[in-house]
């Protein structure tokens, strides 16, 4: 008969066994159960709310914003600034990687008095006003600021409205047609009072691509 282990060692062994039991229940069985039920009951949402084009190709997630830029003039130049494509509704500025990169969700983290942020806001205001052909003072705040995730799929109804004429002209559509699409993809507050309304840019642009 060997000597019994000291109390402190026994306590730690008990702790280790407890942790392993909890890991099996809470770290393996629990997520497996939730995944199993989710995949059966809510498979589209559980897998990322992926959106498909009319010909069945996956083109994004309705929850993750995307870039809609013109092709680069020189694809090998890493310093060339991407230019927005007038044919598409443009999303908000993004701090996720080079913009809307889900490998690096992030906010800018610039403070309220930051000189860098002040300059970015002023530059964006001038650029958006020129691009959309509107008065600089009327550009809404969400068009001038990066979101918390860098993946925000929404823009405010005001920013969508600002872009209607420019998109209609670039696509040769009537502004009424484009405005109707904007209205269709404007998502109200959840249950009518939770959060804020927004226009889903991914779904709006998809609908736009299918409109002749």
């Amino acid at each position: 008969m060997s000597k019994p282990l000291p109390t402190s060692v026994r306590t730690h062994l008990t702790a280790l066994r407890a942790l392993l039991v909890m890991t099996v229940i809470l770290g393996v069985l629990y997520p497996l159960l939730v995944t199993g039920v989710s995949q059966v009951a809510f498979s589209q949402k559980a897998n990322g709310s992926v959106v498909k084009s009319a010909d069945g190709k996956e083109i994004g997630s309705s929850l993750l914003g995307q870039n809609y830029n013109l092709p680069k003039k020189n694809p090998n130049d890493p310093n060339e600034q991407a230019q927005p494509d007038p044919q598409w509704f443009q999303p908000r500025p993004s701090a996720a990687g080079t913009g809307y990169d889900p490998h690096g969700s992030s906010a800018s983290n610039l403070g309220p008095n930051s000189d860098d942020l002040l300059k970015a806001v002023n530059d964006r205001r001038a650029a958006a006003a020129a691009f959309d052909g509107v008065d600089a003072a009327s550009v809404p705040p969400d068009a001038l600021t990066a979101s918390g995730s860098g993946l925000d799929p929404h823009i405010s109804p005001a920013y969508a409205k600002e872009q209607v004429a420019r998109v209609a002209k670039a696509r040769g559509l009537s502004t009424d047609t484009v405005s109707a699409l904007v209205a269709k993809y404007t998502e109200a507050r959840s249950l009518g009072f939770l959060g804020d309304p927004g226009v889903n840019v991914v779904l709006l642009n998809k609908a736009l691509s299918e409109t002749k």
Binding site: S8, H12, T14, A15, R17, A18, V21, T23, I25, L26, Y30, L33, V34, Q39, K45, N47, G48, V50, K57, E58, I59, S61, Q66, N67, Y68, N69, D85, W88, D101, P102, H103, G104, S105, A107, S108, N109, L110, G111, P112, N113, D115, L118, V121, N122, P140, P141, D142, T145, S147, G148, S149, D152, P153, H154, S156, E187, R189, L191, F193, G195
Partner: protein, 553 residues
């Protein structure tokens, strides 16, 4: 509907939902902490881990069990991260570096969930699920277990037994956290939160780009991250990420989840001590601070200030369109008052006033309503201080709930309230004194100082949110904040358990005419005043250098 009306309605709906849960959830937790009956599966667990589920522990034994469990957890979590490249579902990520793994292990075991890493670029599914999410459950349970011993200290007399840690831990996980998590994880998935085991998959976008859609068991982790007041996001952007928090409804639900246990525990307290009025007094104080903080935060965030935010026309930097300033403010106040630290927007980009409220919320010591369990024990310690102060005024030995507050008890209570401020202020001071470490701030001037102050306040109080512009991945920051988290979690716990042991041994004294009634509005006011004075006097100089200086800018 106007934003203002919607904003008020979401807050009122939240208060209503929490009020509805107060009695049933509080009573349920009281029952599971006091019943002698074990479930069959629990008996199996006690047998497996080798403990006697019917034997209560003395407070030092209970404490050693808590510490042993936490130490083993840190080592296990550290190991998992260090061998990540050999694990299943690692998505090709390499092993986490030494100081980063230490920081993360400490962070999740202490219920802080400070993150020096970006989830989607660092961790595979196994570490998230079998490492981090497990700690989300058990660290929350440890907090509730410790407050249970303090309540037992009041209800028991002439005993040296304060409960059995292994029984408390098992019951809180299996009877409380797990069932709620299963239900609400499915609610989240039904609203768009992802739940799968995929890695990234690439697709071609209409704009001619390639985008990678992430995968992962997010909903199962998201729910316990809120419910257990943990706050560590699956993704870097935390609850601002659309895959963690896709709609206005999920946002509201997440705020509800991170508040519901801590706001119901005063009912548990009232039930266990046999006087519900005492619970109402405590929850009133918590509610006053929560409502005040939410109102102030909302005011600041809906009135843009700071030159850059003013230039943009609204405080939308770092905020998601689907939430907007109202919902983001409600989340920001609730997460900083509960030691959760999840964020649905960038706190670094809050207005000077809003950022100041967030820091002040944490400085209150995470008590309104605080982390699961830790919030209530923090508030009860302050209640003891408040009773003591009142006792000094009239010159008699103070007593709370029939227990005399003598020198021993007051020593533990005083040590408790001194610990965290010491960690926060010393840590901030040292970081600011070292030019190399100070340079890690992103913003400059007063806001840069706020980033450092926020970091140590968050770590010391086990919150975990950040003014995230600051770079904290260097060995110095990983180590310093790791130490702040360890001491900020376990020193107060030691004092609470010692206090529980000391109270349990006492013979109750009958209430007399001179006893201060602790269930009346007078006491609610007194306790609120003590909270404000303790925090205000301790932190005012630091607040003046950071957020106040910035607001006056």
């Amino acid at each position: 509907m106007s934003s203002t009306l919607a904003g008020w309605l979401q807050a009122l709906a939240l208060v209503g939902a929490l009020a509805l849960c107060y009695r049933p959830l509080g009573d349920y937790i009281a029952k599971l902490l006091t019943t002698a009956k074990h479930l069959r599966v629990e008996r199996g667990i006690y047998k497996t881990i080798g403990v006697d589920g019917d034997a209560d522990q003395r407070w030092p034994v209970y404490l050693r069990s808590v510490l042993a469990f936490s130490l083993v957890s840190v080592l296990f979590l550290y190991l998992l991260q260090r061998i990540q490249n050999h694990l299943m579902l690692s998505l090709g990520f390499k092993a986490v570096g030494e100081h980063g793994a230490w920081n993360t292990a400490i962070s999740f075991v202490t219920n802080t969930n400070w993150q020096d890493y970006a989830g989607e670029a660092t961790l595979g599914h196994t570490v998230q699920m079998a490492g981090l999410a497990v700690q989300n459950f058990v660290s929350a349970a440890v907090g509730i277990a410790v407050v249970a011993t303090l309540i037992r200290g009041f209800t028991r007399s002439r005993t040296d037994r304060v409960g059995n840690f292994w029984v408390d831990l098992t019951r809180i996980c299996l009877r409380l956290l797990l069932p709620l998590s299963v239900v609400f994880a499915l609610v989240l998935v039904a609203n768009g939160v992802i739940q799968n085991f995929h890695g990234f998959h690439d697709l071609a976008t209409l704009g001619g780009d390639t985008q990678s859609i992430p995968g992962g068991p997010v909903a199962s982790q998201e729910v316990i991250k809120e419910l257990g007041t943990n706050g560590g996001g699956f993704f870097n952007a935390n609850s601002a990420h659309p895959f963690e928090n896709p709609t206005g409804f999920t946002n509201w639900l997440e705020v509800f989840l991170l508040l519901v246990i801590s706001f119901s525990l005063p009912r548990t307290f009232g039930k266990m001590i046999g006087d519900h009025r005492q619970g109402y007094a405590i929850v009133s104080v918590m509610g006053i601070f929560w409502a005040g903080s939410a109102a102030l935060m909302t005011f600041f965030e809906t009135h843009a200030s700071g030159v850059a935010l003013k230039a943009a026309g609204a405080a939308m930097e770092g905020k998601e369109v689907r939430f907007g300033p109202w919902a983001t403010s409600l989340f920001a106040s609730s997460t900083t008052l509960t030691s959760t630290g999840a964020v649905d927007g960038a706190h670094d980009s809050l207005t000077p006033g809003g950022g100041g409220v967030a820091i002040f919320d944490m400085m209150l010591g995470e008590i309104a309503p605080g982390g699961t369990g830790s919030g209530l024990y923090g508030m009860l310690v302050l209640a003891i201080v408040a009773v003591f102060v009142a006792g000094l005024m009239v010159g008699r030995t103070p007593e709370y709930l029939g227990k005399k507050l003598g020198g021993r008890e007051m020593k533990f209570a005083s040590l408790y309230i001194l610990t965290t401020p010491a960690i926060v202020l010393v840590g901030t001071g040292v970081a600011m004194a070292l030019p190399g470490e100070r340079a890690n701030m992103l913003n400059s001037g007063a806001h840069g100082f706020s980033e450092v102050l926020y970091a140590f306040t968050s770590a010391g109080n086990n919150n975990g949110s950040a003014f995230a512009g600051i770079t904290v991945t260097s060995p110095w920051w990983d180590t310093a904040l790791g130490l702040a988290m360890v001491f900020g979690r376990f020193l107060p716990m030691i004092f609470v358990l010692a206090l529980a042991g000391s109270l349990a041994q006492q013979q109750p004294v009958p209430a007399t005419e001179g006893t201060l009634p602790t269930h009346k509005p007078l006491f609610v006011g007194l306790l609120s005043g003590v909270v404000l004075i303790v925090v205000g006097l301790t932190y005012f100089p630091a607040l003046a250098l950071g957020p106040l200086a910035e607001g006056l800018h």
